[in-house]
């Protein structure tokens, strides 16, 4: 039998789906139960679902009311939970929008959950009451950035923290000017749709909050430094597309960034260590010999003198430094004028001769008139004095006596004298002090006694003719020396020593005097000594990194460029020798070594060999650094060279790969 054949009564047509309750009886009998004629129950169950009849049916909730019940209960549970948590001391763990990065999380690990938010968020109260309290103003006083800096002030200066690139506006503008000015140097680039009004930054460049770029609560392993190129460039008026095509071309990077050691890779590679004939050359010219890797595969910028230079350069350098530097040398003045200075050593009388030694000049300057007088004499060279001019000779006398006074003072007061004078001339510096320290006061006092207090009578005869002058005057003696000089290869230092030696021997032959102090013999390791022939106090250096010579150079580097002393010091052989390899030292105080650039100063561009050394092709340095045949250095590395690997696909070309945001001037 088909189910269609079944005939059932029509279902009840009366129902009220809007009501809360439906008569349970209706569901069974299909019609409302009639209690009596007027059908009390016709009204159905009461609002509370109670059947009005004596023999009550059990009314059922309608679907609508059931639905309402469920909805209400769930909502109530939710609200209750909210209130409970907001008050409770677990609120941080409940309400944090995401995990902190591991580093920050570790810092907060100790603190109570209820105080975790407050660690960074000023006035962080989760209680619903405070949401609607005007907390806005309070935030202004202590911002999130300030909280960041409470820990990070070591790396980023508070004052400049909010400035774009941590640089004051004028510096940035200067840079921009520079960029605009040498626009010619910059390659034509494609603004591949990047440059549009929509890209204008939303930032005030004078107050950039940390949270602008460093977004926290992005998960424990999130990268706080992640930045897209577009984000980097949003402030920039010039924006770039791909590195290969649109990055500005640089001129000589990475070279000429204050290399502290003047090392001519070209000559060394080509001339001294030609890799062609290895047989001839004792050592092969290997980059890694001077630029060894450390354990992190990072290349060191240079190695010690001892390791790489000494073997070839030590002797030569010693010879140059031997000649050392003068502290002090008496000039020669005519007898006529010598009279004006009480017992001026006859050895220092004759026609004008001698120079004021640079260091002495510094000390002599402390007396005004002397300084003036010295200025009157060309290059402080007495030979240039024209004897007929009155004032020059007067100056000469003044200077000469000044020398004596200086010597006298030191003899009496010792180092104090020098220190005072230094103070007067206002060039007290550790390096100068270091020089003063090295000068033995007894030597000075002895010198003073010997030159000025020992009665000149005894010395008069002996004093003339002065062999020194002989040496410099009579020519025939020098002839042989000329040959010797010529024959001798370019070692200039050694020959006039020979001259001295030569006339030293002559001395002996002429007069039997006590044997003169010979620094080459008695002062092998260098130090101060008195040269009685030249009436000078001289320092003999001892090769590389001599402390006094170093100090002298450092002291010199502090002097202003126009100061004649500086120029004259530079001419002195010992100093020249140092400056030849340490060009920076003359300019910048104490810049002797080449500190590693990696992680040194915070400049815009950063580079590390480490990742590059992992690539087989690049382990050979010359792959990038090709020694130039033209000039004394390398060919610059072209953008294209980098661009071969640094593309979006391969090594990455995002700004942050090579550039820093946080820089220091």
């Amino acid at each position: 039998m088909a189910r269609e054949k079944l005939n059932f009564p029509d279902p009840p047509t009366v129902d009220r789906p809007g009501d809360r309750w439906v008569c349970g009886a209706r569901l069974t009998e299909g019609k409302l139960r009639q209690k009596n004629e007027h059908g009390v129950c016709h009204a159905g169950p009461s609002r509370l679902g109670i059947c009005p009849l004596a023999d009550a049916c059990c009314p059922r909730r309608t679907w609508a009311s059931r639905r309402k019940m469920i909805g209400l209960s769930v909502l109530i549970v939710f609200i209750a939970a909210m209130i409970a948590f907001s008050g409770g001391e677990w609120n941080a763990t409940v309400f944090k929008p995401g995990e902190l990065t591991t580093a920050h999380a570790q810092i907060l690990a100790g603190t109570l959950s209820s105080e975790k938010c407050a660690a960074c968020h000023a006035d962080a109260s989760l209680s619903p009451a405070s949401w609607f309290a005007s907390g806005g103003n309070k935030h202004q006083s202590v911002s999130l950035t300030d909280r960041c800096l409470d820990c990070h002030h070591t790396t980023i200066d508070r004052s400049s923290a909010r400035l774009a690139h941590n640089l004051p506006r004028e510096t940035r503008e200067k840079m921009q000017m520079a960029l605009v000015s040498n626009r010619s140097a910059i390659a034509p680039r494609d603004h591949s749709g990047k440059f549009s009004p929509l890209q204008r930054s939303l930032l005030d460049q004078e107050s950039v909050e940390c949270s602008t770029c460093h977004r926290e609560h992005r998960g424990s392993d999130a990268d706080l430094n992640a930045m897209t190129d577009a984000q980097c460039q949003t402030c920039h008026s010039e924006t770039f597309g791909s590195f290969a095509t649109s990055h500005p071309i640089w001129t000589d990077w990475p070279y000429g960034r204050g290399g502290k050691i003047a090392f001519d890779h070209s000559t060394h590679a080509m001339k001294h260590f030609p890799s062609a004939n290895k047989t001839g050359s004792p050592v092969e010219f290997r980059c890694l010999h001077c630029h060894p890797k450390n354990e992190r595969n990072e290349l060191s910028r240079a190695v010690t003198y001892e390791k790489s230079c000494q073997s070839c350069h030590d002797d030569a350098l010693k010879l140059r430094t031997d000649q050392g530097i003068e502290l002090f040398a008496l000039p020669t003045i005519p007898e006529a004028n010598a009279g004006e200075i009480s017992n001026w050593p006859p050895a220092a009388t004759g026609f004008y001769d001698g120079k004021v030694s640079p260091i002495a000049e510094l000390f002599l300057r402390s007396e005004k008139e002397v300084a003036v007088a010295m200025r009157g004499i060309v290059e402080r060279d007495f030979t240039r004095i024209r004897s007929e001019s009155a004032e020059q000779s007067a100056a000469a006398i003044l200077i000469a006596s000044a020398h004596r006074n200086l010597l006298n003072e030191v003899a009496e007061k010792g180092q104090a004298a020098l220190v005072d004078r230094a103070a007067k001339t206002g060039l007290v510096s550790p390096s100068l002090t270091n020089i003063i320290r090295s000068v033995p006061p007894q030597l000075i006092s002895d010198t003073y006694r010997l030159w000025f207090e020992v009665s000149n009578k005894s010395t008069v005869k002996a004093a003339k003719p002065v062999p020194f002058r002989l040496a410099s005057t009579n020519d025939e003696l020098l002839v042989g020396d000329e040959d010797e000089l010529l024959g001798n290869d370019d070692d200039l230092l050694s020959d006039d020593k020979d001259v001295l030696l030569g006339d030293g021997h002559d001395n002996e032959s002429l007069s039997s005097k006590p044997k003169r102090f010979d620094p080459t013999v008695n002062l092998k390791e260098g130090g101060w000594y008195r040269d009685d022939l030249r009436l000078a106090i001289v320092y003999r250096g001892h090769g590389h990194a001599d402390s006094v010579v170093k100090s002298t150079i450092e002291m010199m580097s502090t002097l202003p460029h126009e100061d004649p002393v500086r120029a004259r010091l530079l001419t002195s052989a010992a100093i020249a020798a140092c400056i030849k390899c340490h060009p920076g030292a003359a300019e910048k105080m104490g810049s002797w070594t080449s500190p590693p650039l990696v992680g040194a100063s915070r400049s815009f561009t950063k580079f590390s060999h480490t990742p590059h050394m992992n690539i087989a092709g690049l382990t050979d340095c010359v792959h990038c650094h090709t020694v130039s045949h033209a000039h004394a250095n390398f060919e610059p590395i072209e953008r294209e060279a980098c661009a071969t690997c640094h593309t979006a696909k391969a090594a990455g070309e995002s700004c942050t790969t090579c550039h820093r945001y946080h820089v220091t001037e």
Binding site: M1, A2, R3, E4, K5, L6, F8, P11, P12, D15, P17, V22, L27, T28, E29, G30, R60, T62, W63, R67, I70, G71, V74, L75, F78, I79, F85, T93, V94, F95, K96, P97, G98, E99, H121, A124, L126, W131, G135, H139, S143, L144, L198, Q199, R200, S201, L202, L203, E209, S211, T212, C213, H217, R218, G219, A222, T228, A230, Q231, T234
Partner: protein, 276 residues
């Protein structure tokens, strides 16, 4: 509006989808640009998401005010539907991770996903299930299902109240007492409501068929009527199960959408308070 009422469903779908796509594209591009300009892109996406939520909630209000001329609910459903799709996409633009860290945020995202999922299921169900309901004969209103059930049960119990007794009647009565009565007088089990299958019906009908050889003419017709009742009852239960499904998802969806809305507001307040 009237035009909207008269265009065919297919074109309406196309229009709706394309408008949604455009809206999504616009919002995403603006979000992108703000992100690049180092602005607070999450504010933008967050507020547009919140706006979408408000628009989504509105349909509930419209539903509860049937007497006011606020546009037909079916129109609102369309708006709701496409706004829902919009919101679902914008959600993924807005959140850093699909399920955020932190208990509250995690809960919030779970609730959002739950509501979204239920919404999409609802879309599927309300388009697919009605056809299945129509295919099965008979129209049973959900509130009247108990009544219909009761009718069938009484009819079944009435069938055997015949005056003259016979061996066959005994057999049939036995079968009725053992299998049919529990079937007729109990409401369907949870498993059936969850997954309505024909196995129950087939089993019972097979049982009745099995019985046929023990019956004679009139009892056979009675068993035939039993079979009809069984089929009818099965149809009823099928209707019940599907209609229940069609209703329960709405309950889940609407209830949690209210929770979602409240939670979203809390989230918004927190976000605004704790940005700087």
């Amino acid at each position: 509006m009237k035009r909207f009422e008269t265009i065919s469903f297919r074109t309406r779908r196309i229009i709706g989808l394309s408008i949604t796509a455009i809206a999504i594209a616009i919002v995403m591009s603006i979000h992108q640009s703000i992100e690049e300009r180092l602005g607070r892109a999450s504010y933008f996406s967050g507020f547009s998401l919140f706006g979408a939520l408000v628009a989504l909630i509105l349909i509930g209000i419209r539903r509860r005010l049937p007497m006011l001329p606020l546009g037909s609910v079916s129109t609102w459903t369309q708006i709701h539907l496409y706004t829902g799709i919009f919101a679902a996409v914008i959600y993924f633009v807005h959140v850093p991770a699909m399920i955020a860290g932190g208990v509250f945020e995690c809960g919030l995202s779970i609730v959002f996903l739950l509501v979204t999922a239920s919404g999409f299921y609802g879309l599927y169900a309300s388009r697919m299930l009605p056809r299945r309901l129509t295919a099965v004969g008979g129209e049973f209103r959900y509130d009247q299902v108990p009544w219909h059930r009761n009718q069938i049960a009484t009819a079944a119990s009435g069938l055997l109240r015949s005056d003259h007794e016979s061996a066959a009647t005994e057999v049939l009565r036995g079968f009725y007492a053992k299998y049919l009565r529990p079937f007729f007088e109990s409401s369907p089990g949870l498993t059936y409501v969850a997954v309505p299958t024909g196995s129950r019906r087939r089993r019972l009908l097979a049982g009745l068929k099995e019985l046929d050889r023990y019956l004679e003419e009139d009892t056979r017709s009675t068993s035939g009527q039993f079979a009809a009742l069984v089929r009818r009852r099965d149809d009823l239960d099928y209707h019940y199960a599907l209609q229940f499904r069609l209703r329960i998802w709405v309950v889940v969806h609407s209830v949690f959408s209210v929770v979602l809305f409240a939670a979203a507001m809390v989230h918004g307040v927190l976000a605004l308070r704790f940005t700087f």
